[in-house]
């Protein structure tokens, strides 16, 4: 079920009403979490539960086998990886592979034709597969002792707030928390509430109001509109996907805070980044750290020199692109970021600009422009469409204001709100950096000493009312398709 749905309101109310009665005894706690999570997940399609259970059982038992029979550790790990990745390949990439086999055969004039097959994509498969994989690998590396309680394991894997679209949680973070009886602190309750409200606001008011304008722009296979129009659309998409995804993560974090558990921050204002390295430390943090720990570092990371480091980085980014979707446009998106990171690593082009007061701010703008160009490939339906749009983004020959009248006021207003919000964050970051303050977690522009409680409460009040009466046309979260 969607967080932004009437049925989730009922589900959530029931869950938190019953939670205090079930949380105090370990096995009962796990069972309650599992049943609730299965109801949440199965509400879309009950058949998906079997895949989750199958993947989970495979990893649970192979992990125990690794501990019990360490001589065959590699074999058990291979089995776990094969099973989970195999399922992911089957459900997510089968259609892509058959299509490409046919294209290659056609290119070489072969008469081979593989029937185009594709299966219904189970929700959240990419996310829970990665959690299963990290569990198996951590046990293999002796960084984690496998849990001997099936219920404990499934409570971790299926925990409903993060099941569909992350954050991707490491077992070493969540399993110990689930073991304890935790009463949420006053701070956790308030922070959780703020996260839930802010998450809903970002999703239903900002992202859902930006979506129609973006969808309309991308609905034409051969787009024609002006340069400025496309820059506005790409800004809209950048904030649509940011608000959609970070909104979901915020809601997930808020819901788990109310249980007394902590999930990691998944988005940290990525569009105020001064480098691509920083961008990837702020965007989908749980995924990028997963790729760092389970792809980049095992390949060799930056330990074996610059060239090997670049090689590891390219492989990681291409795989990351491919993870996002079974299409070459996603791979190109990953490749573009790899290119940006490579250029950055080799030239360190920002450094001279950072030293000058005004040009320092230009760096953020230049990073954002490159990110927007990459987003074109992420959003476009085809390579041809993407290239056409990129061409228009830099087409100075057409009047810049042509087609702007196609943009409706409300999406522009939504863009204005989130842009202003992030701009205030940027000012706060710059101000804090100037005063050499720690800015590991920026929070919002009204955080810290800037916000008396009553202002915070007033902002939350307006956000709640806006989430009801200013919400856009409803839609599933973008990352559900991954």
């Amino acid at each position: 079920m969607l967080f932004n749905s009437f049925i989730f309101l009922i589900f959530g109310a029931l869950f938190y009403w019953l939670w205090p009665h079930f949380k105090n005894k370990e096995e009962r706690r796990y069972l309650f979490l599992i049943i609730a999570s299965f109801i949440f997940y199965g509400w879309w399609d009950w058949r998906f539960i079997f895949l989750l259970v199958a993947n989970g059982l495979l990893v649970y038992y192979t992990a125990i086998a690794m501990a019990e029979f360490p001589r065959f550790k590699k074999g058990w790990l291979s089995l776990a990886l094969l099973g989970n990745l195999g399922c992911l390949m089957l459900f997510k990439y089968l259609g892509f592979f058959t299509e490409n086999i046919n294209s290659i055969a056609h290119l070489f004039g072969l008469s081979l034709h593989v029937s185009h097959l594709s299966l219904v994509l189970p929700l959240g498969i990419s996310f829970f597969t990665f959690e299963c994989l990290s569990y198996a690998v951590d046990v293999y590396k002796d960084e984690l002792k496998p849990t001997r309680s099936l219920l404990h394991f499934f409570a971790f894997l299926s925990l409903f707030p993060h099941l569909i679209a992350g954050p991707i949680i490491r077992a070493s973070d969540l399993l110990p928390q689930l073991k304890k009886v935790i009463n949420p602190t006053e701070v956790q309750k308030w922070e959780g509430y703020k996260l839930i409200v802010f998450g809903f606001f970002k999703k239903v008011v900002i992202a859902d109001n930006l979506a129609p304008a973006v969808n309309a722009a991308f609905s034409t296979p051969a787009p024609e509109y002006s340069m400025l129009y496309w820059w506005v659309i790409m800004l809209m998409f950048a904030f649509q996907i940011f608000c959609d995804f970070s909104g979901y993560s915020d809601i997930a974090r808020g819901l788990t805070k109310w249980m007394g558990y902590e999930l990691p921050v998944n988005f940290d204002h990525p569009y105020v980044s001064r480098s691509f390295r920083e961008f990837w430390g702020r965007w989908h943090i749980s995924l990028s750290t997963w790729f760092r720990d389970y792809v980049y570092i095992p390949i060799g990371g930056s330990k074996n020199g610059l060239l090997m480091g670049l090689y590891a980085m390219w492989v990681t980014m291409l795989v990351s692109g491919f993870w996002h979707g079974a299409a070459w446009t996603f791979v190109i998106w990953g490749a573009l970021h790899a290119l940006y990171l490579s250029v950055e690593r080799l030239t360190r082009w920002q450094q001279p600009l950072e030293k000058l007061p005004v040009l320092r701010h230009l760096v953020v703008l230049l990073i954002l422009i490159q990110v927007l160009v990459a987003w074109v490939f992420f959003r476009a339906a085809t390579f041809t469409q993407a290239m056409a749009i990129v061409g228009l983004l830099f087409d100075f020959s057409h009047p810049a204001f042509r087609s702007l009248h196609m943009l409706k006021p409300f999406p522009l207003f939504a863009l204005g709100i989130i842009f202003l919000w992030e701009f205030l964050v940027y000012i706060k970051v710059s101000w804090a950096a100037k005063r050499r303050e720690e800015t590991l977690s920026i929070g919002g522009p009204i955080g810290g000493r800037f916000a008396p409680v009553f202002i915070e409460a007033a902002v939350l009040l307006l956000m709640i009312v806006a989430s009801v009466y200013c919400r856009g046309p409803g839609g599933a979260f973008i990352y559900f398709q991954f």
């Binding site: 509400w43 006053e186 956790q188 509430y193 409300f410 955080g447 409680v453 009040l461 009801v468 009466y469």
Partner: protein, 316 residues
């Protein structure tokens, strides 16, 4: 965001939530007080149509020009109070296979005088509206659980509907302006707009007809169905819902629809074409009839059908 050291989160959450709830109720009350939508709740209206089944003697089918243009109650006054009549029109509803199958399912098998009234618009004969941009298909593609919730909790969902800019205008003007819609349980939406914009529909329709044309396959498939229904004893009537002269001209030039050819083929398939005087009925946006225009059209069409029945009876 700011975090205090010691405080009661429950109290704070409770206060913010209560204030928000009060504000939400206040806005909802304003919407309800100065709202421009009346009658059956719109969620129940649309989801209710999906659950119609084998219950009518007379069925009306088509797109928004049909569900805004034809009043079953007026037809009932003229054709007979015992007649069970339903308007099965939907937004952008083209005459695709799935929709037409359901239209056929709406008749009570025991009914002795089944009548089908089709609102033939060029839009309803495009592939896009027959298969993709189809209000009926969009509804039935929704999860059945969501449809049930729409049907059971319609008024509650409507109370919390987002504020459209027109809602805000309506509230500011104390309900004297806006898009007025009265939802009738028989499937008709009586509509009016204040202020009116007689050319409002022209731009979108020009854009539509630049992208697509009337499909010969959709036309052939519809006429096939007409033939089948006629053989099953259903009297199939059709008419061209009236629009403004400007929109009529745009559709004549751009849509690829040949009304004369269609009428001829429709009658060959066994259908009965109902001619109307286009300039007689008032449209508020160039495409859809204002309530008084819809009532007049319904009266004229119902009388034409009754006249046809009288003539047929005399012949027999």
């Amino acid at each position: 965001m700011h975090t205090a050291q010691t405080f009661s989160a429950n109290k704070r959450i409770f206060m913010v939530s209560c204030l928000a709830a009060l504000l939400i109720l206040a806005v909802g009350a304003l919407k309800w007080r100065y709202g421009v939508e009346h009658g059956v709740d719109k969620n129940m209206f649309w989801s209710g149509k999906i659950f119609w089944n084998k219950q009518f003697d007379v069925v009306m089918a088509g797109d928004s020009r049909t569900y805004r243009g034809l009043s079953p109650a007026i037809f009932q006054q003229i054709l007979g109070a015992h007649q069970r009549i339903g308007n099965f029109g939907f937004s952008s509803c083209g005459f695709g296979a799935q929709y037409l199958s359901q239209v056929g399912n709406l008749f009570d098998p025991a009914s002795r005088q089944k009548k089908l009234i089709l609102g033939i618009t060029p839009g309803a004969l495009t592939v896009g509206n027959a298969t993709i941009n189809n209000g009926y298909l969009n509804l039935i593609r929704q999860d059945i659980k969501d449809l049930v919730i729409m049907h059971q909790f319609g008024p509650l969902l409507s109370f919390f509907d987002p504020l459209a800019p027109t809602d805000i205008v309506s509230i500011v003007h104390h309900g004297k302006t806006g898009y007025f819609q009265q939802y009738h349980p028989d499937g008709w939406i009586a509509s009016a707009k204040i202020p009116e914009h007689p050319d409002e529909a022209l731009g979108p329709y020009i854009a539509t007809w630049q992208q697509q044309k009337v499909s010969p396959q959709v036309v052939a498939s519809l006429l096939d169905r007409v033939s089948g229904w006629t053989k099953q004893g259903v009297q199939v009537f059709a008419f061209s819902p009236p629009t403004s002269a400007a929109l009529h001209e745009i559709e004549r030039r751009m849509s690829g629809f040949d009304p004369e050819d269609f009428k001829k083929r429709f009658e060959q398939a066994g259908g009965i074409w109902l001619d109307i005087q286009p300039g007689k009925y008032h449209s508020y946006d160039g495409s859809h009839l204002r309530e008084d225009g819809a009532r007049r059209l319904s009266t004229d069409l119902a009388q034409a059908i009754r006249q046809h029945e009288s003539l047929a009876y005399q012949k027999d």
